[in-house]
């Protein structure tokens, strides 16, 4: 049924539909409305789950971790500082191979403080062993959370679903919330897995000299994840008529210049790309939806035809550059691709990325013969 709701509400409805059993979360702007709505669902019994009012995000993730080892379907949501505080436990969750699903509402990291959208918070968790999705609409947020549970429970790895603070989290738009029975069909109860069991005692996560072997298993499963994500996306389409893919190309087939970005900026890019198309300039847009595991092969394929690519990063690794840009370049190196990759940092701290900004990015990319330093858009004077 279609509703006009915010993406944060969309997250909450999705978690209710997924029938999470244990939810432990801590409020933080701009995620708070998720916690509020979910605690409401749990209090009213609309969702038959235990809601733990933890005293910090470190505990929120720790509770999800242990509840998951005990066999429950778990959920948490956070943002920026909260996600950063979970960092240590994020490593545990993946190392213990737990199908936890988390929503992260992207927000800039302190210091200084800024409450607005910035992907650096989740991207700086890129080495923690979590799958990472980046969404661009309330609908995609709902669908991705449902898909994530399925993927996580097949793969036994945790999944982080990211949506930009305010720009997406607080924007109301039309979301088709499917019937519960359809969701149940797509997402049955979790398949059985090793868990705490007084009848078969085992110790989880102890010290080991086989560390490298377990890391290798995680590596292998991350490779498998790409396949699983495509499969469940396809199945999802079969049932709900919507699919997303791992990368979302727009008019890329014949494009000379491809704008590459993640999250909401992609929508605005399409608007501007179309304008340039009418001017006869072959511009395409490639949105990266799945960042972990990083779909390097698909990136290479998507850029095969293009002469230039402009990566727009709403994130920044100090002393390195835009994170998407770096990983894209790494994927291209040695692949024989000739594409020139131009790097742009834009929209940090929720700075609005306007059609004008995107226009400038395109102009800049067209005019420069080869990439120079990364260009920063929208600095305030």
């Amino acid at each position: 049924m279609k509703k006009v709701i915010s993406a944060n509400q969309s997250v909450s409805y999705a978690v209710r539909a997924a029938k999470a059993q244990v939810i432990a979360a801590y409020p933080i702007t701009p995620q708070s409305s998720i916690v509020e709505m979910l605690s409401g669902f749990c209090a009213s019994g609309e969702l038959n789950a235990r809601f733990i009012n933890v005293e910090s995000e470190h505990s929120a993730m720790a509770a999800c971790m242990s509840a998951s080892v005990a066999g429950a379907r778990t959920f948490t949501a956070t943002s920026s500082q909260g996600l950063a505080l979970m960092h240590e436990v994020l490593h545990y969750a993946s190392g213990l191979r737990l199908p936890i699903v988390m929503a992260n509402v992207n927000r800039a990291l302190a210091s200084p403080f800024n409450l607005k959208a910035d992907l650096s918070d989740s991207l700086s968790q890129r080495d923690t062993g979590w799958l990472q999705f980046y969404c661009e609409s309330g609908q995609e947020v709902f669908d991705t959370i449902i898909q994530s549970y399925r993927i996580a429970e097949q793969l036994l790895l945790p999944v982080m679903v990211n949506l930009e603070g305010f720009i997406l989290s607080h924007t109301y738009e039309i979301v088709d919330v499917p019937e519960q029975r359809d969701v149940d069909r797509f997402l049955p109860p979790a398949p059985p897995r090793e868990s705490l069991d007084v009848d078969n005692p085992a110790m989880f996560g102890s010290t080991t000299d086989y560390y490298i072997n377990f890391r290798y298993k995680m590596h292998a499963d991350m490779e498998r994840a790409k396949v699983l994500c495509r499969e469940s996306d396809a199945e999802f389409k079969g049932m709900f008529g919507r699919e997303y893919g791992l990368l979302c190309p727009y008019r890329c087939e014949d494009a000379d210049l491809i704008l590459i970005t993640a999250g909401t900026i992609a929508g605005s890019c399409r608007v501007v790309a179309d304008r340039y198309r009418t001017k006869g300039l072959k511009v395409g847009v490639l949105r990266i939806r799945l960042f972990r595991p990083f779909p390097a092969e698909l990136i290479r394929a998507a850029l095969r035809g293009a002469r230039k690519a402009a990566v727009i990063d709403r994130d920044f690794s100090p002393g390195c550059g835009g994170i998407f840009a770096q990983e894209i370049k790494a994927a291209l190196q040695g692949s024989g691709s000739e594409v020139l990759v131009f790097e742009f940092i834009a929209g940090l701290g929720g700075k609005d990325v306007t059609d004008t900004d995107i226009g400038q990015i395109i102009e800049h990319t067209i005019n420069m013969s080869k990439p120079g330093e990364s260009a920063w858009m929208g600095l305030l004077r």
């Binding site: 190392g95 213990l96 191979r97 036994l156 090793e194 085992a202 110790m203 989880f204 996560g205 102890s206 010290t207 080991t208 086989y210 072997n213 377990f214 298993k217």
Partner: protein, 83 residues
Amino acid sequence: MLPITAISFITTEGNETGEWRSQRPVLDQEKCNRCGLCWMYCPDNAVRPAGDVFEISYTYCKGCGICAQECPKGAILIVKEER
């Protein structure tokens, strides 16, 4: 074949910590009154009820000396471990 991550199922009973021992407790069944304190206080479960007596398992005994120290009857003697 390894599990998906470090999940332990096998008990430590294969680890013969008696090897660590530099002194050895010797239990004199004559003096023993079966009070079970040595069994109760042994950190390594090396004292075990066997039928109606207690025996010391040198497979595990680390030679801490607690049993001898706590035995109310002085029934346990600590001697140097000779290997």
